[in-house]
Structure formats: structure tokens, C-alpha cells
């Protein structure tokens, strides 16, 4: 019946004169990883807080798994796991005690939470550390404990607010593997002990994840990405479709001296943007001009006293796309 686990329309939220979320509509399908991408202050966290019902919207509607977040908040919230940016854990409690705490405030009985918690802790790789105090965990392990706590009610919708800030790439990779596994292979296909009330979930229905991040390397792992700026979603699509918007419009330019290349490229009337990437430049050009520029630029650079070692069309990166979109959204 409900095709979308999250269905939000026309969300608005202002704080005083600041419009933090401005007419945001968002739909997330079962089994989808949706990335909300934007800078601090773009409205990502406010959007998430509206979706979980932690904030009251000024306008618009939110339903989660078919339940209205305001009118049927109990049912809606029982489907949600939320890992906030500054999620708290009790450092002097053990891993298992922390999970137990979160499970019990969510109303789970001991017969429910214990087998579940063990399964989840195994899943996130903390199975061997149940008796370790949370304060003694490394950053990556703390994060996994946070994830486990958010999963203990076995939510169908998981919201992760910048979960990998300050975490190194190896740990981040592990974390993402968990998130992707969660979506492609939901936890606990094994039946749980009796008394499992609302756990009737079809196995084919995966968990959905909404994740916020300011980083493109994370965005590129999502199934779909919405780019937020000043409270609005200014673009939304799969990473590959987003990248395709700039096909043929990003050139890689190498040579020396790099300053000369850069200044000359900037001067070209068909060049929209030049960015230095270490030993090379990325040049964004107007549509259908690549042949023209590839022919013209070497002469221009030569005339300015520079040399080119390589000039080619490259596959656009998400970052290129977002920069192009942000610029056009100013108008």
C-alpha cells in the first residue's frame, strides 16, 4: 500500500527570521539509502528532526511507514531509529548495559532486547566487547555502538545524521559496509522468540536509510542523493544520473607552470570554472564545447609560456555537479 517509507511534502520550518527548511518534499523507498548532502546550516539536521517528529513543522506533512508523524506519532516513531550527531552513551556502562538502557526506554522487555541486542552487536562487530565499558571503546567502536543502539527496536527507517564525522576512512568503510548490508539484507530473518508483536515484516522489505553528510565521497555511496542548500533541495537523483548531467563538460588539464594554465583557462570564454586539484586542474566548460576547447587551449597556453602534458575529457565527479548546481541556484 505504502510505496514510500518516508513521504514528506511541503515541509517548512523557521526559527525566528531564519527559514531553516523551505518547502522540502522527500520520498524514500523501502531498501533505499538516501543521502542528504549540504553544508552545515543547509537544513539537513532540521529536516531529519522534522521527519522523526522531534520538531514541529510550520507547514507540510510527514508520514513514516504510512503513519502520520503528528497524528500517529507512537506508531510512526516505533518504526524509526535515529542516530544524531551528538548521540550520547554512558561511558561508565558496558556496551551491553548501554544497549539495554536504550532498549528499555523504548519499552522492550528483557526477553525481547537480549537476543536482539546480541544479534545486533554481532552484526556491528561488537559481539566480543559486550562487557567493555563504553568509555574504553575507540572512536569507530563507539560509533558502532551508536548504530547498534539505534537498531535495537529494529526500525524500518534509520536516520543517520553525519555519522562519520571525524572517523578515519578505514572505519568509515566498515561503517558503510554495515549500512549497505542492513539495507540489502535486513537483520534477523530468523524468527524471534514468541511475544514478538509488530515484528511481522516481510523479508523482502529492506530497511531504508536517510544519511546526511557534507562529503561527496559519502554521497556517492547512496542510492539517491538530495542536495540541500539554504533550506531547499535543489537537486535530487542517483549519483550516476547526477554525474551524467555534466558529461563531456569536465576536462582534466595537466602541464606547467600550473598558475599559467590556470589563468589562461580562466580567460577562455567557454570555461565556466577552473579548480586546482594538486598536480592537475579540472576545467568545467560550456556544453558541446569540448572539441573546440581541446583544440584551442593548447595554443593559448603556449602563447602564455606554458606547456600542456595532458588535456582530456574526464568523467565528472559529484563535486563538479554540485558546484555547478550551486552556482546556477544563485540566479
Amino acid at each position: 500500500m505504502t510505496d514510500y517509507l518516508v513521504n514528506a511534502t511541503g515541509l517548512k520550518k523557521s526559527f525566528g527570521a531564519t527559514c531553516a527548511v523551505d518547502d522540502v518534499s522527500l520520498r524514500i523507498k523501502a531498501g533505499e539509502i538516501y543521502g542528504l548532502v549540504g553544508s552545515d546550516g543547509a537544513g539537513k539536521t532540521t529536516t531529519m528532526r522534522l521527519l522523526v517528529g522531534a520538531l514541529l513543522q510550520d507547514a507540510g506533512e510527514v508520514s513514516v511507514c504510512g503513519y502520520d508523524i503528528l497524528k500517529q506519532s507512537e506508531q510512526a516513531r516505533s518504526q524509526i531509529g535515529y542516530l544524531s550527531q551528538r548521540f550520547s552513551m554512558y561511558e561508565d556502562l558496558t556496551v551491553l548495559e548501554n544497549i539495554r538502557f536504550f532498549a528499555e526506554i523504548r519499552g522492550l522487555s528483557a526477553t525481547e532486547w537480549l537476543p536482539r541486542s546480541m544479534e545486533i552487536l554481532e552484526f556491528v562487530g561488537l559481539g566480543k566487547f559486550v562487557d567493555r565499558r563504553a568509555g574504553q571503546l575507540s572512536g569507530g567502536m563507539k560509533q558502532k555502538l551508536g548504530l547498534a543502539s539505534a537498531l535495537v527496536t529494529r526500525p524500518r527507517l534509520l536516520l543517520l545524521d553525519e555519522p562519520t564525522t571525524g572517523v578515519d576512512p578505514v572505519t568509515r568503510q566498515d561503517f558503510w559496509q554495515l549500512v549497505i548490508k542492513l539495507v540489502s539484507q535486513p537483520l534477523s530473518p530468523t524468527p524471534l522468540p514468541q511475544g514478538e508483536g509488530q515484528g511481522v515484516r516481510e523479508q523482502s522489505e529492506g530497511v531504508s536509510v536517510l544519511i546526511s553528510t557534507p562529503y561527496m565521497d559519502e554521497a556517492s555511496r547512496c542510492h539517491r542523493v538530495g542536495f540541500m542548500k539554504a533550506g531547499k533541495i535543489i537537486a535530487e537523483d542517483t549519483p550516476s544520473n547526477l554525474r551524467a548531467r555534466l558529461n563531456g563538460r569536465v576536462l582534466e588539464l595537466r602541464g606547467s607552470p600550473i598558475n599559467v594554465l590556470r589563468h589562461v583557462a580562466h580567460q577562455d570564454e567557454d570555461v565556466e570554472d577552473v579548480a586546482a586539484f594538486g598536480d592537475k586542474l579540472h576545467v568545467r566548460i560550456r556544453a558541446d564545447k569540448s572539441d573546440l576547447i581541446i583544440n584551442r587551449l593548447p595554443d593559448e597556453i603556449k602563447a602564455a609560456g606554458g606547456t600542456i602534458t595532458n588535456l582530456r575529457v574526464i568523467p565528472p565527479a559529484l563535486e563538479d555537479v554540485f558546484i555547478a548546481l550551486s552556482e546556477s541556484s544563485h540566479d
Partner: protein, 301 residues
């Protein structure tokens, strides 16, 4: 020929029996932009702290801007700038007041120089803005300004653009390159490949050792010697298991809606037919480009 800005020879630091930094060697030239990467606990911060003269090395040699880190740490500290994401900006002061305050800490009371710094980081016109009302991108510019007010020849940046969007990040890096053109040497530590890709050379540390240091392009060429494939298949998990066990496949990872495979001498058809034989439906298999993250993951494991 000018002398390198940083020369590190067999630099080592022990904490008890633990070798935090293990005989590392490298040089950095004036005006270079260097990225410094490594998992938590790999020795990055210890290295930086030794270079800043905040921590005494246990062994080896290092000079920064020609000064010995063992004996001349005061000289070094007076000539380097440091920008941390956790940098304290006074929210109830204006941008100009913050700059003036930190200038004073370094003994700089010259108003013209403060103004110059303000212009350099593009905050002119925002002198009287309370910093509490600045966006993250602007706050980062102010932090950079504070790190630059004493005109350092060497600048350390710790995850400088965390929390900003790509547009602000690019504007920030334009500024960094402008500084580098002016001869300032820049060392950036980061966990994010978005930032690392901007650096001219990238160093990767693990377990106290410097594993590699080169341009992003050369790192990709030399470390990722196999082919990169993006495999869109269903179910993904099972596909991962099968490909991970396939001969010639070096690494498989889940990447959202597809698998990222790094392999040697494995062609597309071989993967396709193996997956089909195991009743995995294959939507498409495409070539991918190696990323710095691939490099990092191959080195860090």
C-alpha cells in the same frame, strides 16, 4: 636551489614501548601542498606535533624552516600557523576583534597587517559581523585568517573544510593555492578524500610508518595496479561473496547500489558468466576510475 621547508630523517617517537612514529623520512619543498592521511592512531598527529616542536622526538632528525625541532622549537612555533577545526573563535566578538585578539597573542599590533589578513581571506566587508552569525564556510575563513595573521611560512591545517559544502570547500582551496603560490608551504591532515584530492602530494601513514608519499595520480597508478569495475548485480551481498572468492579479484566492496571490484586479469565477461552461473542477475558491469580512497584502503589494511 632553496632548501626544503621540512626535512625529516628517521624521525621516531616512542610512548613507553609503543612506537608511535617509526623511522620516517620525507622532505617538503617551499610552496608545496601536502596531504597527510592515516587511520586514527597511525602516528599522524604525533608527527605533526613533533614538527611543530610540541613534542620531543625519541630519535632521528627533523628541521622545519631550517630550524632543528630538538633545539629550536620556539623559532619554529613563531613561524608556523596552525588551523584546527576545533579552533576557538570568540562568538561574541566580531571578525575584526577576533583577528586583532589573536594578532595580539603573536605580538602583532599593526592595524594594516590585520586589515591585510582580513582581505586575504576574503572577509573584507564583514569586519563588524559578530562571528556567531557567520556561516561555517566564513568561520573557516576566519580561522584561516587567525592562523595567518603572523604571516607564517608554513601552515598546518587539520581537516580544514569539515562541515562545508563543495562550493565553500573549493573557494577555501582556491585561497590555499593562492597562499602556496606566494611561497607558503601547506600541510593538511584529513580523513576525507574530498580534501586529499586537492593536495599536490599525499602521504599515507599506518602503524607509525610512512607507507607512501606521492601525487594523487601517481599513487593511484602505483598502488592500484589492477582494474576497477563497478558491478550492478542483484542480490548484492551474494554477488560480493562470489566475486570476493574469484581468482584474480583483489578487493570487493559494497558501494551503495553496486559492487566496487579491484581485480587483475579478470575480464568483464568472466565476472558476468560466473555471476550468472550462480543465479545472480547482472544489470551491468562498467569500468571505474581508481580513487584515493582505493589507494588508502589498499595501504591501510
Amino acid at each position: 636551489m632553496t632548501e626544503p621547508v621540512i626535512v625529516v630523517e628517521n624521525l621516531t617517537r616512542l610512548f613507553g614501548n609503543f612506537v608511535a612514529v617509526d623511522h620516517i623520512n620525507f622532505e617538503v619543498q617551499a610552496g608545496e601542498v601536502i596531504g597527510y592521511l592515516g587511520p586514527n592512531g597511525s602516528g599522524k598527529t604525533t608527527t605533526i606535533r613533533m614538527l611543530l616542536g610540541l613534542l620531543k622526538p625519541s630519535d632521528g632528525k627533523a628541521t622545519v624552516l631550517g630550524y632543528d625541532v630538538f633545539k629550536q622549537s620556539e623559532e619554529i612555533r613563531a613561524r608556523v600557523g596552525y588551523m584546527s577545526q576545533k579552533f576557538a573563535i570568540y562568538d561574541d566578538l566580531t571578525t575584526l576583534e577576533n583577528l586583532t585578539f589573536y594578532g595580539g597573542v603573536y605580538g602583532i599590533n599593526d592595524k594594516a597587517r590585520i586589515q591585510h589578513t582580513l582581505e586575504l581571506v576574503g572577509l573584507k566587508g564583514h569586519e563588524n559581523t559578530l562571528t556567531s552569525s557567520l556561516s561555517t564556510g566564513w568561520r573557516q575563513r576566519l580561522s584561516l585568517g587567525i592562523a595567518l595573521v603572523h604571516e607564517p611560512k608554513l601552515l598546518f591545517l587539520d581537516e580544514p573544510t569539515s562541515g562545508v559544502d563543495p562550493t565553500a570547500r573549493r573557494a577555501f582551496w582556491d585561497l590555499i593555492y593562492q597562499l602556496a603560490e606566494g611561497g607558503v608551504t601547506i600541510l593538511v591532515t584529513t580523513h576525507y578524500m574530498d580534501e586529499a584530492e586537492y593536495c599536490e602530494r599525499v602521504a599515507v601513514m599506518r602503524d607509525g610508518k610512512l607507507l607512501a608519499m606521492d601525487t594523487p595520480t601517481k599513487l593511484k597508478e602505483s598502488i592500484i595496479t589492477g582494474d576497477v569495475w563497478e558491478v550492478y548485480a542483484h542480490p548484492l551481498e551474494r554477488g560480493l561473496e562470489i566475486l570476493a572468492a574469484m581468482e584474480g579479484v583483489e578487493r570487493v566492496g559494497l558501494a551503495g547500489d553496486h559492487l566496487r571490484v579491484i581485480s587483475k586479469r579478470v575480464d568483464k565477461d568472466a565476472m558476468q558468466s560466473l555471476l550468472s552461473r550462480e543465479s545472480i542477475s547482472v544489470e551491468k558491469i562498467e569500468r571505474g576510475e581508481p580513487t584515493l580512497e582505493d589507494v588508502f584502503l589498499s595501504l591501510a589494511r
